[in-house]
Amino acid sequence: MRPILLRGGRVIDPGQRLDATRDLLLQDGLVTAIAPQLAAPDDAEVLEVRGLAVCPGLIDLHVHLREPGGEHKETIATGARAAAAGGFTAVCAMPNTDPAIDDPAAVGFVLAEGRRAGGARVYPTGAISVGQKGERLTEVGELVHAGAVAITDDGYPVMDSGLMRIALEYSQTFGIPVADHPEDLRLSAGGVMNEGLVATRLGLRGIPRTSEDVMIVRDLLLGDLTQGRIHLQHVSTAGGADAIRAAKARGVPVTAEVTPHHLLLTEEAVEAYRTDAKMKPPLRTAADTEALRAALADGTIDCVATDHAPHHYDEKEQAFDDAPFGIVGLETALGLLITKLVKPGLLDLASLVDRMSCGPARAFSLPGGTLAPKSVADVTVFDPAGEWVVDRASFYSKSQNSPFVGWKLTGRAKITIVGGKIVWKDG
C-alpha cells in the first residue's frame, strides 16, 4: 500500500485540540506524521487538499444495512459504499435483520461482507435477546468474540426491565455498551407520527414523547443500579435530553446519539402524509429540536448517528399507515449539519467533528476518532463550503427514502480513507 500525503488541508482533530493547516502522512494503515510541512516519501500518493477540511474519519453508530433478509432495500456492500460517499469511515450495523444477528456465525457474516465491500468499515452489533424477542439474553461473549462491538435490540425495544438489567450487568465482562432504542411499545402502540395537533388533524395515531421518556428514564435508573454502559439511541425528545444531562451529572455511564433529522425537522414535515418523514422515533416539535441541538452542543448527547434506514420505493409509496418507518441518512448527514448547525453558528466545525467522529469512537470504544500518530488511518476530507443539491439519482444507497431530497446543502465529503486506503473520492 502506497503512503498517502494529504498536503495543506485544514486539519481538525478535536482530540489534539488541533484546527490548523497541516500536512498529514498515512503509512501502512496508520497515521504516521502530522506537521506544518512534511516531505512526501518517494512512493507516496500526494493529495493536494488546500481549502478542504481533514478530520478523523466519521463514524456512524447506527445504520441498517438490511442484509441478510432485506437485500432489496440495501446490502452490506451498497451500504458501506453509501457510507464512504457520505464521508463515513466506519458504521455500526444494527442486528434487526432477517434472521437477526444473534449468533456468532451471523456476526461473522456481517464482518466478512463488510470487509469485502471495500467501503466504510462495517462493525457488527449483536442482538440483546435471542431472535430479538425480548425474552432470553444472547451469548454475548460469543458475539463479542466474533466481532460485535455492542449489543442492541434496536427495532424491537427491550420492554422487559429485568432483561435490560441482566444485559447491562452481563455485558460488563466484555466491556461493550448496551444500546437501547427507548420506546414503551404499549404507550406507542398503533402510533405512526408524533402525538399532537398535526396527528389529530391528519387523523393519524400519535406516539407520545412520554413513550420514549419513560424508557430513557428507566434505562438511566438501571444505569444507576448496574453501572453498566448504556447507550441511548436516536434520542428525539427534550425530556430525554434533560434526563440524560441529569444522569451524566450524577455519574451514570451513559452515552447518547441523535439523528440529523431529529435535529432539523419537526412533525410538520409529515403534512400531506409524506411517508419519507415517517420514522421511529417520530419527528417531534420545535421545542424538541431546539433542546436536542443544545444537548448536542453541550455534550449531553455525545454523537450524531443517522439511523440510516433504507426502504424500497414501493414500500414507501403507500398510505401513511402502511409505509414502514425510517429514512436513509448516510449521504446527507454531513452536509445537513454543516448547513443547518455550523453555518448559522449553532455548533463550531470542531465540535461537529467531535460529535461525528470522536464521540462515536469513545461511545463504542472503536478505533479512530483521532489523528494522533499511530492511530488508525481513517480520515475524512470534506469541503466545508462545497454546495450541492440532494438528488435521489446521486445516492449510492440502494434506497432513496429521504425527506431532504431537493435541499441545497453546503458541505460535502471529498475523500474517504479507510485504513490508509482511499475508498471514495468525489469527482
Binding site: 399532537g196 396527528a199 391528519l202 409509496e317 398510505a319
Partner: protein, 323 residues
C-alpha cells in the same frame, strides 16, 4: 360565482382546506338536487356517459348505497368494487388498483379506505376525480356536508349555533369533517367524550371540550352523536358499553335538561342503548333519517360540481330532457 373562481379542484378529500364559500356552494347545489329524489322517475341526465367507480376497501352499507343512488339518479355508469381484507392480501397495492381502473378510462373514483390519507394519496396519483368516502380517522367530507345541510334545513342557519359532537372523537373521521365544516360556517363547536377517546390537541382546532354529557346537553342546540364501536371497548378505551351508556348515553331523561329545542344527529349505524337510547333515536328531536335523505342530495351535488357542473346551472341541469 363560477366554478373557476370557486376553484373546487379535481377532488374532494376533506373539508379542512375548503372555504366557507365553497362549502356553501356544495350545500346550495345539494338543495337544488333534493327534489330529484322526490320525483316518480328519479333520474336526470346530468352525468350521462360518465363512469364512476365506487372503490370500498372497508365495509360500508349506508355511504356506498347513498353514493350509488346519487350516481344512478344522475345517470352515471357505476361499478362497485369492494375489496375485502382477503383480496387486498393478494398483494395489489392501492396505487396499482387505481391505475388499473384508470386504464379502463373512468371519470371518477369514490374511495373508502381504512388508512388516513388514502384518498389524498389516490388523488395525487390519478387523473380522475377522487371523492373521499371516508379515510381512516381523517375525514368523511360528504358526511360533514350532509350534517351541515341537515342542521341548516332545520335551524335555517349554521352560524352561531352551539353544536356538540359526542363520542369517539379519536377514531372518527365524521368528527373531523364536522369540526372543520361547522367552524368554517361559524358555529360554536364542542366535543364531549371520555378523555381516552379524545385526540390530543383537539382544543387547538378551536373547539371546546366538555367533560360530561349533561353539560353538553345544557349547552347545545345540536348534538351529533357518534357510534361507539365495539372494538373500542375491546381495546380498553372504555371499560364497558354498559358504563358508556350510563355516563355518556343520550337518553330521554338527560334530554329533559336541554335549555332549548335540541336537534339530534347520528351518522349511523346506531348502537341503540349504547351511545343513544331508542326513545331518543326514534323521538321528535331525531334528524337521523333526514340526514340519510340529505346524504343522497349532497353526494349528487358533489358529483355534479366535481364533474365540472356550474353551481348556477344546477337547476337547469336537472330539468334538462334526456336525449
Amino acid at each position: 360565482m363560477t366554478q373557476r373562481a370557486l376553484a373546487l379542484g379535481k377532488d374532494l378529500v376533506g373539508l379542512e382546506h375548503l372555504s366557507a364559500e365553497q362549502i356553501q356552494v356544495f350545500l346550495d347545489t345539494a338543495e337544488a338536487f333534493k327534489e330529484i329524489s322526490e320525483r316518480p322517475i328519479k333520474k336526470v341526465p346530468v352525468l350521462r356517459g360518465k363512469t364512476i367507480v365506487n372503490l370500498f376497501f372497508e365495509p360500508s352499507t349506508r355511504t356506498r348505497i347513498s353514493f350509488e343512488f346519487a350516481e344512478k339518479r344522475l345517470s352515471a355508469d357505476t361499478v362497485n368494487i369492494a375489496t375485502t381484507a382477503s383480496s387486498v392480501a393478494k398483494g395489489e397495492t392501492l396505487v396499482d388498483t387505481a391505475r388499473n381502473l384508470e386504464a379502463m378510462r373512468i371519470d371518477m373514483v369514490v374511495v373508502r379506505h381504512w388508512a388516513s390519507g388514502a384518498a389524498k394519496f389516490l388523488a395525487e396519483r390519478i387523473r380522475s376525480n377522487v371523492i373521499n368516502a371516508g379515510d381512516g380517522a381523517h375525514e368523511h367530507p360528504t358526511q360533514g356536508l350532509l350534517d351541515l345541510l341537515t342542521i341548516r334545513d332545520h335551524r335555517g342557519r349554521v352560524a352561531g349555533l352551539n353544536v356538540c359532537i359526542v363520542g369517539d372523537i379519536l377514531h372518527s373521521r365524521v368528527a373531523r369533517s364536522n369540526i372543520w365544516g361547522l367552524l368554517k360556517l361559524g358555529a360554536n363547536v364542542a366535543v364531549c367524550s371520555p378523555k381516552t377517546l379524545l385526540p390530543p390537541g383537539i382544543a387547538d382546532l378551536g373547539v371546546t371540550v366538555l367533560r360530561r354529557i349533561e353539560e353538553a346537553i345544557e349547552w347545545a342546540d345540536v348534538l351529533n352523536v357518534l357510534r361507539l364501536q365495539l372494538e373500542r371497548m375491546q381495546a380498553g378505551y372504555v371499560p364497558s358499553l354498559r358504563e358508556y351508556n350510563r355516563v355518556f348515553g343520550v337518553s330521554k331523561v338527560r334530554l329533559a335538561r336541554a335549555q332549548r329545542e335540541i336537534l339530534i344527529l347520528h351518522p349511523g349505524p346506531m348502537n341503540r342503548g349504547v351511545e343513544i337510547d331508542s326513545d331518543v333515536a326514534d323521538g321528535p328531536h331525531s334528524m337521523i333519517l333526514a340526514q340519510v335523505t340529505n346524504g343522497v342530495a349532497v353526494r349528487m351535488a358533489v358529483l355534479y360540481l366535481l364533474a365540472g357542473g356550474e353551481p348556477e346551472k344546477a337547476e337547469a341541469a336537472k330539468t334538462a330532457e334526456g336525449a
